[in-house]
């Protein structure tokens, strides 16, 4: 039986006195691509922040591959196997594209796999280059990351997260702001992640994009899990339609 990659159990979290997550509960199985949708302000990014350690829950429990995360710092969660991207790309602008991924490989993957790497003779530079090849950025590795286009910045977000060798990858609106052709490219990239056996939690506003590549879909509202299930079933649900798509009540 497969292990749960991530578990939220009645989690409450927010920023200062503002509570965003109100008893959020869900499970993500290992190896699945788990999509998250919901209206603006429903707590999707806050959920990723709570999972990656940017904020701590005030109540409830978050675990990842059987390990409770509540007390762990963000860098410890990365070394445990959680990689994330940001809704607005945050490249290390003073560094080249390669150095961006190398930093993740050295501090995330490198620290985690130090013993294994020493035995196999593998280097962090290989991990960093592999992530760039898999995301189509290998040719731009020496470019200053601040000079990349939006699509390439989004790719770099994914490459950097991959270079930290995560078991659970958190994608925060990787297709946002892209043209249709670019969205297709990034969707193919995410679909490829499933084949590489990553577990993915993917937040996206573009429903069509989500339908193509997710195994299950969760709809959130006001910091809660409203409905989780097969993407087609979730999208067909009246509750989701009313909440997310703002259907008229006749």
């Amino acid at each position: 039986m497969k292990q749960d990659a991530a578990v939220f159990d009645n989690v409450e979290a927010g920023y200062g006195n503002v509570r965003i997550l109100n008893g959020l509960s869900f499970r993500v199985a290992e190896g699945e691509v788990f999509g998250v949708i919901g209206p603006n302000g429903c707590g999707k990014t806050t959920m990723l922040n709570a999972l990656s350690g940017m904020i701590r829950p005030s109540k409830g429990m978050i675990s990842c591959f059987g390990k409770e995360l509540n007390r762990l710092e963000a860098y410890e969660r990365c070394r445990l196997g959680i990689g994330r991207t940001w809704q607005i790309p945050r490249p290390f602008a003073g560094m080249s594209v390669y150095e961006n991924t190398l930093a993740a490989a050295v501090h995330g993957a490198g620290r985690k796999n130090l013993l294994r790497d020493r035995r196999s003779g593998r280097k962090e530079s290989d991990t960093a280059l592999k992530a760039l090849e898999e995301t189509g950025l290998a040719e731009k590795k020496d470019m200053p990351s601040g000079e990349l286009t939006l699509l390439d910045r989004k790719r770099l977000e994914v490459a950097r997260a991959m270079a930290s060798e995560p078991r659970l990858l958190l994608l925060d609106e990787v297709a946002a702001g892209l043209t249709e052709a670019e969205t297709t490219q990034i969707t193919d990239l995410v679909a490829g992640l499933k084949e590489k056996h990553y577990t993915v939690i993917w937040i996206e506003h573009n429903i069509e994009t989500m339908m193509k590549a997710t195994d299950r879909l969760m709809c959130m509202s006001e910091g809660r899990n409203v409905l989780t299930g097969d993407p087609a079933e979730v999208m067909a649900s009246e509750t989701v339609e009313r909440l997310y798509l703002g259907a008229d009540d006749e």
């Binding site: 990656s52 350690g53 940017m54 710092e73 963000a74 860098y75 990365c78 070394r79 990689g83 994330r84 940001w86 945050r90 490249p91 290390f92 602008a93 003073g94 560094m95 080249s96 150095e99 961006n100 190398l102 930093a103 993740a104 050295v106 501090h107 995330g108 993957a109 490198g110 620290r111 985690k112 020496d142 470019m143 200053p144 950097r160 997260a161 270079a163 930290s164």
Partner: protein, 327 residues
């Protein structure tokens, strides 16, 4: 973008050559004691400038309280040599150990605080230390202490000690960006949260940098008071130390190794000229810093670098144009 490895090699070669030239000047005493005296001051200011650059330019820790370590090391040297009659190198070591101990303890308080609040708290801590030393009978309160170095080091010896310290600080700054640790620090400089989410232990990195900066600053403080011969609370814990560090980094250029070198040279010569205008000197230095921030915010060294690159580009374009005409 030049790879970090190439930049490191180039930096080490340039620094090595410069070190050899300055070492020969120190050994032979070419130019006389005045050259060594100016050189000594410049080398100390380069050291504290590089360390403030490390703190602020690389780790985002804008400390206004680095004078705490200058004062502590100066007093440790004075107490060790005057009260206990120790040989002055032991006093310098004592200053280093006490400053590192204080920095380690303080880091648990200070590194929990972010941004402007960090800056203000570091200043308050340094001021509090100054006030404490002003009231401690053990260090003669405000009457100050003498550094009794026997035998008293000659200016040539002081110059060579400052040279070694300065180049150790520069080599630290050159090796940092290309190292594994430095990669994390540079990531942290650009985006703390993103760096942390990729496995960089931000708290540990900041603590290491804070300790390294405290250590080098303390050693520079010891050498300064070894040369001066006396220390008072208002000279050891003077905010003027931090003002000079900030000025040096702003003028020279933040985030570069060469920036504080240029900044320190400009600062020492400017302060020497302005010493003839007491009361006006700080105002003029402040005005120069403001003008630099407004019109050349990147500092002298990055501005020169950009100008050289632009001129090379223009030359290339010009020669391409000639080729077109030839055809």
């Amino acid at each position: 973008m030049m790879p970090a490895g190439d930049r490191t090699k180039k930096g080490l070669i340039v620094t090595g050559v410069l070190f050899m030239v300055l070492f020969v000047i120190g050994i032979t005493g070419i130019g006389g004691s005045n050259v060594l005296r100016y050189g000594f001051r410049i080398l100390l200011y380069i050291t504290i400038g590089e360390m403030w650059n490390l703190l602020s330019g690389y780790a985002g820790l804008t400390s206004l309280g680095q004078q705490a370590f200058i004062g502590l090391s100066g007093y440790a040297l004075a107490v060790a040599t005057t009260k206990y009659g120790l040989f002055y190198p032991l006093g310098i070591v004592a200053g280093l150990v006490i400053s590192l101990g204080a920095a380690f303890v303080l880091s648990f308080l200070l590194l929990r605080i972010e941004g402007m609040y960090f800056s203000i708290t570091t200043w308050v801590v340094a001021e509090a230390l100054g006030t404490l030393f002003m009231s401690l009978m053990y260090v003669n309160r405000g009457a100050g202490m003498t550094v009794s170095a026997e035998p008293y080091p000659r200016i040539g010896t002081l110059y060579l000690m400052a040279l070694v310290l300065c180049f150790a600080s520069m080599i630290t700054m050159i090796l940092l960006p290309g190292s594994e640790f430095g990669l994390g620090v540079r990531a942290m400089r650009d985006d703390v949260q993103a760096a942390e989410s990729l496995g960089v232990n931000v708290k540990r990195s900041r603590r290491i940098i804070y300790l390294v900066a405290a250590g080098f600053t303390a050693l520079a403080g010891s050498l300064f008071f070894l040369n001066k011969g006396t220390i008072y609370p208002e000279s050891g814990f003077d905010i003027g130390w931090t003002i000079s560090m900030v000025f040096i980094v702003i003028i020279g250029g933040s985030g570069t190794v060469a920036g504080p070198v240029a900044g320190a040279v400009i600062y020492v010569f400017l302060s020497e000229i302005l010493a003839h205008y007491p009361g006006w000197s700080n105002m003029i230095l402040g005005a120069i810093a403001i003008l630099m921030i407004l019109f050349c915010p990147q500092g002298v060294i990055p501005a020169i670098g950009a100008a050289v690159r632009n001129s090379a580009k223009r030359r290339r374009k010009g020669s391409d144009g000639c080729r077109e005409l030839d055809y």
